[in-house]
Symmetry: C2
DNA sequence: CCATGGCATCGACATCTGTCAATATAGACG
DNA sequence: CGTCTATATTGACAGATGTCGATGCCATGG
């Protein structure tokens, strides 16, 4: 793997490398339509609302979730393609 | 994904979430027999020998590489199965 | 127009992380 | 034994990270 590739992939892995963010992404992806409202996500954790907001921002900035505001609510949607690309890259290292 | 699963996978992802360690693992895995001597790895980076040793330790403690000493040299071998399991888990989230 | 509720941002704090120079350890070979 | 040579450990330091309370922003409803 080139240094450039590694430098590009590492931030995405870093965004995933947290138990809270892993569960957040999993929760979002397992929702119907692959998107979830922040209000639902807040209730799933014993963490403050700003902390969840922070983790969602990290996932978003890594390109792992899309963000869309509809009325008062904000929905985050999982980027399955990004996850699949990452998976393919790891698979190529394993093989 | 359960909190326990997330808590178990996150440390492995954290070990992977560094450009140097990604390239290290990739280098090790791409070697014949899937293992590489530390002396080869040191030369591939513009980093001090202790720093490389530190990163290898992180990879080893995460279970991503095996360590075997043969004479004066130490060889690290990629755990392809662990990488494959991780890949499968990410794939299940994406799907 | 003001109050409320959902979400983001800020500031602060303790902890963790990546890096290096210095030093230790441990085989191999005179 | 003494001295290389290869690798690991230690100590130190700057910068990043996860968390919270307080606060700000923005739609919606009275």
């Amino acid at each position: 793997m080139s240094a450039e590739t590694a430098g590009g992939v590492a931030p995405v892995l870093k965004a995933l490398a947290d138990p809270v963010r892993l569960r957040l992404l999993s929760l979002i992806a397992s929702h119907a339509d692959g998107e979830a409202c922040v209000c639902d996500l807040n209730d799933a954790f014993d963490l403050s609302q700003p902390t969840i907001s922070h983790h969602l921002k990290v996932l978003h900035e890594a390109g792992l979730v899309d963000r869309s505001k509809r009325g008062v609510w904000v929905y985050y949607a999982a980027r399955r393609d990004v996850l699949a690309d990452l998976c393919a890259l790891l698979g190529s290292v394993a093989r």
